[in-house]
């Protein structure tokens, strides 16, 4: 079947098997490899991206479901050569080590701040509780999101 998914503002049209997972489409058909996969069972959250502005686990969604919808990935965070505050926060606060869970964490973190600009530590921890990081012990991820909250974005992340 042919699908067209707008990814970071650019429509991507491909002929795919209906069983193609969205994470696979984004990585292989659109060539955007910043979105990773880690568990197959929607438990780890390394594959989190946005569909129509809400984060989803893209290993557990078919590309066909996103046909005609807007997807935003980690590659869409940086605007006009300026890092999004969530990206800058992860750098400033050492919120990443191996970098594998980082794109998913940042997509969730930025979504949280869009809906709750001043989250408490507990709200941040709850919001990323469906995502696993094996390196950081989470403390610096929480700090990174807090840093971003304290340095609000001047531009909107749009699909």
């Amino acid at each position: 079947m042919e699908v067209t998914i707008t990814i970071n503002g650019t429509p991507v049209t491909s002929e795919i098997e209906p069983r193609t997972l969205l994470v696979h489409f984004v990585r292989e058909n659109a060539g955007l490899r910043g979105t990773h996969w880690g568990c197959d069972t929607s438990n780890c959250g390394t594959c989190v991206l946005w569909v129509d502005g809400s984060p989803v686990k893209s290993c557990t969604m078919l590309a066909a479901q996103a046909d005609g919808h807007e997807v935003t990935t980690v590659e869409g965070l940086e605007q006009g050569g300026v890092l999004d505050p969530i990206q800058q926060g992860f750098i400033e606060c050492h919120g990443l080590q191996c970098g594998f869970c980082t794109p998913g964490m940042m997509m969730t973190g930025r979504w949280l701040l869009d809906n709750n600009p001043n989250p408490s530590e507990a709200e941040i921890r709850d919001c990323i509780s469906g995502q696993i990081c094996r390196c950081t012990g989470y403390k610096n991820i929480v700090a990174s999101i807090q840093w971003a909250a304290e340095h609000p974005a001047t531009s909107e992340v749009t699909a």
């Binding site: 079947m1 098997e17 209906p18 069983r19 997972l21 994470v23 696979h24 996969w37 197959d40 069972t41 929607s42 438990n43 959250g45 989190v48 809400s54 984060p55 989803v56 686990k57 290993c59 557990t60 969604m61 078919l62 066909a64 479901q65 969730t108 709850d126 919001c127 509780s129 469906g130 995502q131």
Partner: protein
């Protein structure tokens, strides 16, 4: 990466269209709602439908509204929407308490109440909520709609009374003025399926329990409920002694099996302990505490 077996895909344009597609493709068709139970099963190749009928475009299955003395929740309402619903929160604390501990915020963005009910996992939290509140479901087929009590909805683990060419369209919960409700869950880790969960509502009037519902999940309670415990409480004062006796009756209604979440003795203990805790909270809430 695990990948599903080949499958066809169709997007339903209406409930009627979905039913027509189901009739056309027979039992090899599966409805796709949030997909968070079905797609992992397909990736493990434990499920291999020939066609998926995607319900995500059906706005008629969305929305939470009051109809008469019932709250109506559309089948495609997500866990996140239930968690955030002021309408549900106004009438029953149990929704927010249960949804806070179902999966995680990202999964809750996709998973739906209809999908959860129809998956009929014996550890499903919303099944305990629905059974506790004595809700009902509306099931639609080409012959029309029928309404079924949630306590008659399940045929067994992973089996419901929804027919091959039918769709669950709504879940309905009666409004009970003055009801207090609560949800208690023990999980090994946030986001895990429950070791045991108990949801209850209690209406206390004139110093006695006039209505109550007890729902339990993951502990092998038939239809996720404990009617003997409920009957016991009716007309009795919500004293610690009475609540404890009801909690024990609730545990008596359970036949859990041992798994990595815990042995049978522990699960039975939890059924009792969590029922008691939920009853205390709900009774206190009903009494304005």
């Amino acid at each position: 990466m695990q990948t599903p077996a080949p499958v066809d895909y169709a997007r339903a344009t209406s409930v009627a269209d979905a039913i027509a597609l189901l009739e056309k493709h027979g039992e090899e068709a599966r409805l796709l709602a949030g997909g968070h139970s079905l797609l992992p099963m397909m990736k493990l190749r434990l499920a291999r439908p020939e066609i998926l009928i995607d319900l995500n475009d059906l706005d008629e299955l969305r929305g939470i509204r009051i109809e008469g003395d019932e709250i109506v929740v559309g089948a495609m309402v997500t866990h996140a929407e239930i968690l955030d619903s002021p309408v549900l929160a106004e009438h029953y604390a149990i929704f927010r308490e249960a949804e806070k501990v179902i999966a995680d915020p990202i999964v809750r963005n996709k998973g739906t109440i209809g999908g959860s009910m129809c998956q009929a996992d014996p550890s499903e939290d919303l099944s305990a909520v629905g059974s506790a509140l004595k809700g009902s479901v509306v099931i639609q087929g080409s012959g029309g709609k029928r309404t079924l009590a949630l306590r008659e909805f399940h045929e067994g683990p992973y089996e419901t009374k929804v027919g091959d060419a039918e769709i669950l369209t709504e879940v309905r919960f009666p409004i009970r003025p003055g009801a207090g409700s609560a949800y208690e869950k023990v999980e090994r880790r946030v986001g895990d399926w429950p070791v045991a969960s108990v949801g209850v509502f209690v209406v206390v009037a004139g110093g006695v329990v006039t209505d109550c519902g007890i729902g339990l999940t993951a502990v092998g309670a038939e239809h996720f409920c404990a009617p003997d415990a409920e009957a016991y409480l009716i007309g009795k004062a919500p004293t610690e002694e009475n609540l404890a006796a009801a909690a024990q009756l609730a545990a008596d209604a359970c036949t859990p099996y041992a798994d990595q979440r815990g042995p049978v003795d522990y699960k039975l203990h939890l059924a009792c302990e969590l029922t008691l805790r939920a009853l205390r909270k709900a009774a206190a809430s009903s009494q304005g505490a």
